[in-house]
Amino acid sequence: MSSSLGARPAALQVSEEKYSAGLVNDATGLKVSFRGTISTVNPAAVLNPFVDAVHAQLSGANLKDIRVDFTELEFCNSSGFKAFIHWIQRVQALPEAQRYKLRFVSSPARKWQRTSLLALSCYAPGLVEIA
């Protein structure tokens, strides 16, 4: 985490039957955490508004990067994956000086994450890092 928000952000979270996501500010700093299995028919309908809200919170906060915690994310289907593409596109739409990087924290035990995050890093080489 390269910066922190001056005030603790309002709780931004979504929770569905099989997955949840939230912007949290815990002992390790600010992060966006995804948990569970994103495999519903059209998860972007839930996740895109969440990502938009998180982005609105972060884009004015002068952050250099934000951790995106996948360690408890068992799986994400391609429809859910689009929410992360959507997020990247929102960051790309910012003036360059206001952009922040997405630093994905993955789990070695969840092997699909390696290739999915590789692809995402190729989509936006300057904005996506894999921790």
Partner: protein, 173 residues
């Protein structure tokens, strides 16, 4: 599931016929991952194959209209091949749409490039448009489409010992 040896590297074959509601796709993915870990130990392919099955099943279920969806998985250690096939009933329009989408993917020899193009082009708020490209790149399976009667089959074929994917510039993941 227990791990069993496969002396002689005989081909291993699995077929499931389902009328699954959407919620069972996660269970199928977990089963396939476990099955592949047993069928091809040491190849590190189970997560990729499970991802492919998940995506192909999620494409097939809505098209099947409540009828059977078949999953066939073949692992051939001697031939160094793995094949995933998912079939379902579909209309002429659905078949031709699927055929065109796979043909467009395959027209780009570089699977990563076609995946990145799909990321740019697929509408972010609507379902669809990314799964096949994801299977082709992430699962390292070449895709083809067959039709028999009113059923369509999407085939994914690839090597059992697929090379580790690399980012341009050489970073392993």
């Amino acid at each position: 599931m227990t791990t069993t040896s496969n002396p002689g590297g005989r081909p291993i074959y699995l077929m499931l016929r389902m009328k699954p509601p959407w919620v069972f796709v996660d269970e199928i993915r977990r089963f396939v991952e476990s099955f592949c870990a047993c069928a091809c130990p040491g190849q590190q392919r189970e997560a990729q194959v499970a991802l492919a099955v998940h995506e192909l099943m999620q494409n097939a279920i809505p098209q099947a209209g409540g009828e059977d969806v078949d999953l066939t998985l073949q692992v051939d250690p001697v031939a160094n091949r793995i094949e995933v096939a998912v079939s379902n009933p579909c209309s002429d329009e659905q078949f031709h749409d699927l055929l065109a989408r796979v043909a467009r993917l395959n027209s780009e020899p570089d699977a990563l490039r076609s995946y990145l193009r799909a990321m740019s082009e697929a509408p972010s708020a609507a379902r669809g448009g990314l799964g096949l490209a994801r299977v082709r790149f992430e699962a390292q399976l070449e895709l083809s489409v067959l039709r028999e009667g009113r059923r369509v089959t999407v085939l994914g074929r690839g090597p059992l010992d697929a090379p580790q994917l690399q980012a341009p510039g050489g970073t392993h993941v």
